[in-house]
């Protein structure tokens, strides 16, 4: 049965566009054009001096140089946090071109370009701006960012070493020294925006954005054992924008925007980490997370009762073909998603004492995955599906019941999903009197996502990974349908009262209603919907006792009558205070405090969380020769909520056994038996201190020197379920002192030297993996030339 859609997409799109045209037409024919007093003609401006060329004044500068790096300790952690290497660099280049007064040019009057970090730095950026009078404005940016991530505790199964190391037949399973989910990807983001006729009554905008993310990374898959996968990241998003801005009368703008976003996901996965061989020489992996000595194959299996590693003397070691493992795996899921969005906006302050704005948007997105392909070869010996003969069970070699095991699978098929998203927002500020203003904002969003998937699966069974295929089943066709949606309406009303020239107070109220609905893909699971109502009171204050002092304070206290997940607060509070004091023109002292609190006091939930941040800074710049700034910050992130889990060996602290018969998933304690189901507290506390100081000294126009220091220090605690887990970065100190010098030989030439020291250290053991501490010295030498 074809699903009836809430929105007929064509009807809604047409309505949005037609409504916007109609409304704009009504304003156009009913408004009175404003006559402005005729001003004096504008004078010719002095464009400033530069290198003249082709009726342009040109300024250009180059910073060429390079880095010299020395480091010791963890290269992986250094590359994760810093990732700057030795080598020559184009440190910076700028170009400015301005048309000389009275000259006429076809392409542009003004052009500006700025580029930084090319030649090998992990981050590079370029900006290009051009404009020509009232014809057009152009802004383009390009950003490239290499994301290297190898924090080796992330995704690490923490394979024990020493006496606890898992072994089999003399082979010691290796510890995982790098992150199994490491990244070495590059993101390139290009953003281009044209505005045509920017100061005209009707102006046009076109834009294009290209975001590409690609590069090698790793992932993992679970089919019996857990295998490491090479994940070739390759996805891109293109965004096109076309827009019209119409100013029919002064202080009123109507805008229509058409956006189209296209996503292409071509990331692929294939098996890696085959560090053993089968008896027939085929490469194989038994998984990367062998944390305990593996069980032997069953006595009645094809291999008989044999250890997981048959022979440790071969190179590579020879694995038992009857235990869980992988000889091959690949997955391709080319995904294409299109998000067309229509948006109509208006803004007006043409009505006396009223400022209004509003918009409506509609998105009708389509995801298509037409050719999903997945292939697995190996062994999954935990399957206990009855065999077609009904009498035997397949593939329980560890229990020695049956020989045949799941040794392969091919999956092919496709999926599609839609996302219908309607949004409407309206905002108004009404200055009721010189001292009192009322603001109102209403927001509405309604989205839902129906989706379908159809996959064909063929399964292969054999006695072992080196045995000929015994049985093939399938193709089995599985089709699913799922849906998720949410409708949310929020209304915020505020009254702002200027009690005096020094005090302003705001009082407000926010109401939100949110309804979410889910239709799970498994027909055995029930569908559900949930409605949540939130209420919050808001209080703001701005205090300016003198011209030099400003204090802002705001608070929001609210509650919700339901929560979707345990970490959604039913009671929430936000407090914020900022203060700035400028005792003299060259000194500024500022401070801020933020506190976000969340609670859910339901029985056996007891959710408590807060984010508290306190910061202060001082900036002194008494003259051109000297400036100093210093800042301090303290942040505390804290959360706790009751959790429950299955653990045959309970963690050391913070857990209690669940009552007999009370289930947590399939973990249930039985009477008279040692408990395996526990309550924990998900405790997390991370108090962090941050400090920085910097001094710049410029004794003359020829010399400038600066030095400074930054430190980030945290000593946190958290619930650790794995006895081998360590806090890692949760107890660490990261320090980065720096020095920079510049000497100007001539007005065109300046020599520069920078020194940066990076030091990262953890307060505690490194865990069953490599140490992450490092120190490095980075020297950057460069020459600046400008003309």
């Amino acid at each position: 049965m074809k699903t009836r859609l809430f929105f007929n997409s064509f009807v809604v799109r047409a309505s949005v566009f037609a409504g916007s045209l109609g409304l704009a037409a009504i304003f156009a024919f009913s408004g009175n054009a404003q006559e402005q007093a005729k001003p004096q003609p504008a004078p010719a401006q002095d464009a400033g001096s530069g290198k003249p060329w082709a009726n342009y004044d040109i300024h250009q500068s180059f910073d060429l140089g390079g880095h010299i790096l020395s480091k010791d300790g963890s290269s992986a952690m250094y590359d994760t946090l810093v990732n700057m290497e030795s080598g020559p660099r184009i440190l910076n280049h700028t170009l400015q071109m301005h048309a000389t007064p009275g000259s006429r040019h076809a392409l542009f009057d003004t052009l500006f370009e700025d580029s930084t970090g090319y030649g090998g730095d992990p981050y590079s950026f370029s900006t290009l701006r051009a404009s020509k009078g009232k014809a057009y404005d152009f802004v383009g940016t390009f950003r490239r960012d290499r994301q290297f991530f190898d924090y080796n505790l992330s995704g690490n199964p923490l394979v024990p070493g020493g006496a606890l190391a898992p072994t089999s037949n003399g082979y010691t399973f290796p510890q995982v020294l790098d992150s199994p989910h490491f990244f070495n990807t590059v993101r390139r983001n290009t953003d281009l925006n044209f505005t045509f006729l920017p100061v005209s009554k009707v102006s046009f905008r076109v834009g294009y954005n290209l975001n590409i993310m690609q590069g090698p990374s790793q992932s993992s898959i679970h089919i019996g054992a857990d295998a490491l996968l090479y994940q070739g990241w390759r996805n891109s998003t293109q965004t096109w924008l076309g827009a019209i801005d119409w100013k029919p009368i002064q202080r009123t703008t109507f805008t229509y925007e058409q956006h189209v976003v296209q996503y292409k996901g071509d990331t692929f996965w294939r098996l890696t980490g085959q560090n053993m061989q089968l008896p027939n020489g085929a490469p194989v992996t038994l998984g990367f997370d062998t944390v305990a000595s593996p069980k032997p194959s069953g006595a009645t299996s094809f291999c008989g009762s044999q250890p997981a590693v048959l022979d440790n003397s071969t190179n590579p070691p020879t694995a038992n073909p009857c235990v869980n493992g992988y000889t091959a795996y690949s997955r391709f899921a080319p995904t294409r998603t299109l998000f067309p969005t229509e948006e109509f906006r208006f803004q007006t302050s043409a009505i006396k004492n009223v400022q209004m704005t509003g918009r409506i948007l509609y998105t009708d997105a389509t995801m298509k995955l037409d050719t999903y392909r997945e292939s697995f070869r190996g062994m999954e010996s935990r399957v206990t599906t009855p065999a077609p003969d009904g009498a035997t069970r397949w593939c329980t070699t560890s229990k020695g019941v049956r020989l045949d095991c799941h040794t392969g699978q091919v999956v092919a098929g496709g999926a599609s999903a839609k996302r219908f998203d309607f949004g409407a927002d309206y905002g108004l500020v009404w200055q009721l009197s010189p001292d009192f203003a009322l603001s109102e904002q209403f927001d509405f969003q309604n989205w839902h996502q129906p989706a379908t998937a159809t996959f064909n699966t063929i399964d292969f069974y054999a006695a072992s990974m080196i045995s000929p295929l015994d049985v093939t089943t399938g193709p089995d066709l599985a089709a699913v349908y799922s849906s998720l949606g949410q409708k949310m309406a929020t209304n915020t009303v505020m009254g702002e009262w200027e009690a005096s020239g020094k005090v302003q107070i705001g009082v407000g109220y926010r109401f939100r209603q949110r309804t979410l609905a889910k239709l799970p893909p498994d027909p055995e699971d029930p569908s559900y919907s949930l409605t949540i109502h939130e209420n919050a009171g808001i209080l703001d204050a701005v205090i300016r006792p003198t011209r030099d002092v400003r204090i802002n304070a705001s608070t929001e206290i609210g509650w919700a009558d339901a929560a979707y997940v345990q970490t959604d607060p039913r009671q929430f509070q936000r407090y914020q205070v900022r203060a700035t004091y400028k005792p003299i023109t060259w000194a500024t002292v500022s401070g801020s405090f933020t506190d976000r609190e969340g609670r859910d006091n339901e029985f056996l939930i007891n959710y408590r969380a807060h984010h508290r941040a306190l910061a202060g800074s001082t900036t002194l710049a008494p003259n051109e020769k000297f400036s100093f700034d210093m800042s301090y910050g303290y942040i505390n992130d804290y959360s706790t909520v009751v959790d429950c889990f299955d653990a045959s060996v309970p963690p050391a602290a913070g857990v209690t056994a669940m009552p007999v018969g009370v289930a947590c998933g399939n973990a249930v304690n039985a009477d008279g038996v040692a408990p395996t189901a526990f309550y924990g507290n998900s405790y997390y506390d991370a108090p962090t201190q941050y400090g920085s100081a910097a001094l710049v000294w410029t004794p003359s126009k020829l010399f400038r020197g600066g030095f400074g220091y930054r430190v980030n220090d945290v000593y946190g605690t958290t619930q650790l379920l794995n006895p081998l887990a360590v806090p890692g970065t949760l107890r660490s100190k990261y320090q980065t002192p720096f020095v920079n010098l510049a000497y100007t030989f001539t007005p065109a030439w300046t020599a520069k030297a920078d020194y940066n020291y990076y030091s990262y250290g953890e307060d505690g053991p490194s865990g069953p993996t490599a140490s992450r501490n490092f120190h490095s010295n980075m020297y950057t030498l460069g020459m600046h030339y400008q003309f």
């Binding site: 809430f6 929105f7 993992s220 959790d643 045959s648 941050y690």
Partner: protein
């Protein structure tokens, strides 16, 4: 295909059957229409937008006159985007006096500062009104924004005549400008794992609109009405066949701290299993009837300590696995 279940009984239809979205938009447009007629329909009404009386043409002295005393300001003005004002009104537009007001009284008074508008000394609301008289179309939400309500005026961040960042006429470049008030955010960008704002790869304005938006914390959204995170992290946008619902309903911050975190992948807590178990625990079924706890032998936390995401690797959503294995 939906396994034989009737569409009429699906919760989406139950929730949406009254078409509230269409009703909202219709009421919205009608309200707008009526307000427009009220504002403009009355004959002989005061010209729209005429908040204050416009000075007579004779009150303007021209930018050349301003330059005689304020040479240091006008000297570099040719490169300022505001020179476009001269091209308006049939190339009869003014520049200096468009913002500072007609200058004759100021000149006749020998430079009387009380006779000219100085944004550096004027109240925040007056400054905002002056700038928004041209820029309101681009910054329609500013009046309701936290910045405006806190008395942070346009000239708190922008300077037409003395700028470090000439692109947006900012007094200082991002993020140093933002840190002058939002100092409590700066330490987060120095944590081991952070969005590279200090390195210059990301700007505060990539995610936040300092001029205000319809979203909390002045957040932007993507063109497709998704969370702004998906502009770069587009692989998490979906839509997926198998959604991790909280990603769409609660948002990315239910698991991540976007400014910076002590924890890898900007997670809210240090341990992946602890993060997952915060929600995937069935401790109070009456309060959370939809909570799902792990089942199966591999979820014995001490039998196999593997992080949850080693198996559930496609945790933001999957088109091929209900449990996000692939």
């Amino acid at each position: 295909m939906h396994n034989g279940r009737s569409d009429a009984n699906t919760p989406n239809r139950a929730v949406l059957k009254k078409h509230p979205g269409l009703r909202v938009s219709t009421v919205f447009l009608l309200g707008l229409l009526s307000l427009g007629f009220h504002a403009f329909a009355a004959p002989g009404a005061k010209a729209a937008g005429k908040q204050d009386a416009q000075p007579a043409a004779s009150e303007f002295v021209g930018s050349e006159t301003c330059a005689t005393c304020h040479e240091e300001v006008t000297k570099g003005f040719a490169t300022n985007p505001h020179t476009k004002m001269a091209l308006m009104h049939g190339k009869q537009g003014v520049t200096c006096e468009n913002c500072h007001g007609a200058g004759k009284a100021h000149v006749d008074g020998g430079g009387d500062t009380s006779k000219i508008f100085n944004p550096a000394k004027a109240p925040a609301k007056e400054v905002d009104a002056k700038c928004l008289s041209c820029h309101a179309g681009q910054h329609a939400n500013f009046a309701r924004s936290p910045h405006a309500k806190a008395g942070v005026s346009c000239v708190s961040c922008h300077s037409v005549h003395h700028t470090e960042d000439k692109a947006q006429l900012l007094k200082a470049s991002q993020p140093a400008l933002c840190f002058q008030c939002h100092g409590e955010v700066k330490p987060q960008f120095s944590m081991p794992f952070h969005h590279k704002v200090l390195e210059g790869v990301t700007n505060c304005s990539d995610c936040h609109d300092p001029h205000g938006s319809f979203n909390p914390s002045n957040l932007k959204t993507t063109s497709a009405q998704n969370a702004i995170c998906t502009k770069c992290h587009s692989e998490t946008a979906g839509p997926f066949v198998y959604e991790h619902p909280v990603v769409k309903t609660e948002g990315c911050i239910s698991c991540h701290s976007p400014h910076g975190s002590q924890n890898p992948r900007l997670l809210n807590v240090a341990n992946v299993n602890t993060l997952c178990l915060q929600c995937h625990s069935v401790t109070n079924t009456s309060a959370f009837p939809h909570a799902v706890a792990p089942t199966g032998p591999v979820h014995n936390q001490s039998a196999q300590y593997t992080p949850c995401t080693n198996c559930h690797s496609q945790i933001h959503g999957s088109n091929a696995s209900e449990v996000f294995f692939k």
